[in-house]
Symmetry: C2
Subunit: 233 residues, 2 copies
């Protein structure tokens, strides 16, 4: 049996709490990070708060025993003041109302002391399947990469949606293409999956496309076209 205390009230805290409640051999409690008195003892304390609040929360529970971990992709392990510290970073985009299947979520794990690793690994395996040993430097890079594949590709969908709405074309026509693009990046790599006017250097089509865009969209179109062309040189 592993006992876990989750500090926080956000999406990550809530989804982890729900998952641990259903897990075998896990005793979990969830504590509002603004009411940090009389927290029950636990093998692992998970600080699941916003990035800039992690340090404050860590300092406010200085005399706490056990392993103390945070859940952030962007913050160094050493922000935690305790000696026994780690990172328990589930790499997925969490929304309040969308249920999470942790079996498909990669857990990026790190501990300051080797002896603590198997503890958070067991914790991750109690609700998920995939664990990766990722140190703080690698995690920071992974977090930047995640911004590109998630926030920025989503913004590409947003622009596609804007163009469709403006021209009274249903955006749903593009759903199968979105799916296929996401699948091919995994099955044959993004490099091999690249197609389109930028890759072909189809100057006439690029020119026609630019004429159909607003200034902001044009700027993005041109920069990404240049970047695609540089990447295949």
């Amino acid at each position: 049996m592993i006992s876990v205390a989750i500090l926080g009230n956000g999406n990550v805290a809530t989804h982890l709490h729900n998952a641990f409640l259903k897990a075998k051999n896990i005793a979990v409690s969830k504590i509002n990070s603004r009411e940090l008195e009389n927290i029950p003892n636990s093998d692992v304390t998970i600080i699941a708060v916003s990035d800039d609040a992690i340090e404050t929360v860590s300092k406010s529970i200085l005399d706490r025993k056990g392993l103390i971990v945070h859940t952030s992709g962007a913050v160094d392990i050493n922000i935690i003041t305790h000696k026994r510290k780690g990172v328990f970073y589930p790499l997925q985009s969490f929304s309040k109302d969308t249920p999470v299947n942790f079996n498909t979520v990669p857990f990026c794990l790190e501990t300051k002391h080797k002896e603590d690793y198997s503890l958070i690994e067991s914790l991750a395996k109690s609700i998920g399947e995939k664990t990766y040993t990722i140190n703080s430097e690698q995690r920071k890079k992974l977090h930047v990469a995640a911004v590109f594949v998630n926030n920025f590709s989503n913004h590409m969908y947003k622009i596609g949606n804007d163009i469709c709405e403006k021209n009274k074309v249903p955006f749903e026509i593009l759903y199968p293409l979105i799916e296929e693009t996401a699948k091919k990046a995994q099955s044959i790599s993004p490099e091999k999956a690249q197609t389109g006017p930028a890759k072909r250097n189809d100057i006439q089509t690029i020119k026609n496309h630019l004429e159909n865009l607003n200034l902001q969209q044009q700027e993005i179109y041109q920069l990404l076209t240049t970047s695609i062309q540089k990447s295949i040189e």
Copy 2:
């Protein structure tokens, strides 16, 4: 029974030919577009060649009867010289070696004469399920939107992959995030699905991220961050 002649040798010609061979009540033949003599008569002739070759092929079969259509997302219907003309545009990214399930492919259809519409609609329904009536102006916009959701989001994956490779982190850690991002754009719209430091205007994280990127990546990061912030103003 509908008889179809496909002119062309590329991916679209090949995948359509294979699909029509398996369809009920379709008699299909495929002709190399450089050998346009003695093509059997057909109800529909599909010019499935590269965008800049459509006009030439159309002019070289001037005395051909029946409905003449092309398969391009970017080219106007009127590039076809014949009176009975149309567009039969399957909106998907076709690769040579990846089999196509046309049941999930949206067919964007247009005919010059109303009376011809049911003919290409039947043709599309013989191999697929989803058909949309899209005129040439709308199709051009849709084609630009497709560049954003396909070519450009794939380039975001490529940059994510580059960052991972450079830092010896397996890119596969990001697969579930790529999947989830593609799904959420469909289930809750890209606008509502947007998260991340740009949306939160998390200046410190943005600064940290920029320090981890090369010049080209920085330029893209900054432009897209600005664009995301403008889009939620």
